[in-house]
Symmetry: C2
Subunit: 224 residues, 2 copies
């Protein structure tokens, strides 16, 4: 990407951008890496300080992982979002590790951690923006955690199906059980069993590679 | 408390204190409420913006709660700690609700949320301190969550017993199963069952209102 395009993109993403000196803006742009990742590629791994990713297109999934490989999704980032947790060295108060995967084919801009850090130290607005971003991710994470700890699976599955079909405006969902399980931080077997139960209750109709909502009223009742 | 004592306490707690004007320091001190809470008393409840609690003595427990009353402890605050989550209106990026109980007889100072907010807006250092505190709580919460989601109960109970006895320097723990369950975010029945299993494995010896570690090597192996 040309520096002038980068400058325009950062201007949209960062409310503090115009407050930086021309020199500092140019420094960030000239040291930015443009990266393309294929779907499912891991792009940040635990305790390294990779830097701050800005999503240009596609989707990044941020998650934590247990020793035996269980994953729990914390949140997803889309075009224009910045991932701070992969630059935990910038915010010293962050002392836990996350993983980041490209969930679709994704284009990213990577701002080097030490570049980000050195400029952040100079501008209070940038520092406050960065901390506020981390705190708002904290809120996202708390939502996921409460969902996961407190809602039983039937409710969680019902509200997932409700949200997805409301969002797409269609009563048909083209997702495999595997994909639904991944979105819900659950296992495929568990989701399949619950979907079969939903089908037996005439809430959904299952088909190859997808499902159709046939009783949205019942689904809504279950979800809320 | 006299304002002069308050001033000394805040000086110890807040690194930004000396940077405030004399007028603003006096404003915070004169509007501070001194409060005493009995053990087990709920002192903050969900989505209200109670203000910023500073613990003078005792212990506050910060937790989330499900609709059906299940609690998950996020962290505990001791003397000199400040609770920001009870003043979520100060940090707008915080959009989730917590509960706070006094876990022991506790003395607190309560800084009114709008006083805190108005002074925070004037001083960048105070704002950054407040945000950094919230982010470091984010880290505490992530530790609790990972523990809860990823560790199986035998490991969690073993590491709890290990930590507690190491801390006290004694092989005897004077806590009821109910209390242990509360600390571990679990149910009494589940903890009692696991303790009986530990007793059958000759790891602990159970007694009325407590237990004794009889094989600390085995306990350590289980915990790590």
């Amino acid at each position: 990407m040309k520096d002038i395009e980068l400058n325009d993109m950062y201007k949209d993403v960062f409310p503090f951008w115009d407050g930086l000196s021309e020199e500092d803006r140019a420094y960030i742009c000239s040291t930015t890496q443009y990266l393309r990742y294929d779907k499912s590629k891991n792009i940040h791994n635990g305790n390294k300080c990779t830097g701050a990713f800005v999503v240009k297109s596609g989707c990044l999934r941020v998650y934590i992982m247990s020793d035996d490989g269980r994953e729990v999704t914390l949140y997803r980032l889309y075009s224009g979002d910045m991932c701070m947790l992969s630059a935990s060295c910038v915010i010293q108060a962050i002392t836990f590790d996350v993983f980041v995967d490209a969930e679709e084919n994704t284009e990213c801009l990577l701002i080097n951690a030490s570049v980000y850090n050195s400029i952040c130290e100079k501008y209070t607005d940038m520092k406050i923006y960065t901390l506020e971003l981390a705190v708002s991710r904290f809120s996202d994470v708390m939502w996921s955690v409460q969902e996961l700890l407190f809602k039983s699976l039937d409710k969680r599955l019902a509200s997932f199906l409700w949200d997805e079909t409301r969002r797409s405006g269609s009563d048909t969902l083209k997702m495999t059980h595997e994909q639904i399980a991944k979105y819900m931080n659950s296992a495929r077997e568990v989701v399949s069993r619950m979907l079969k139960y939903f089908a037996s209750e005439k809430i959904v109709e299952l088909s190859r590679g997808g499902l159709k909502i046939i009783d949205s009223e019942k689904l809504r009742e279950l979800a809320f």
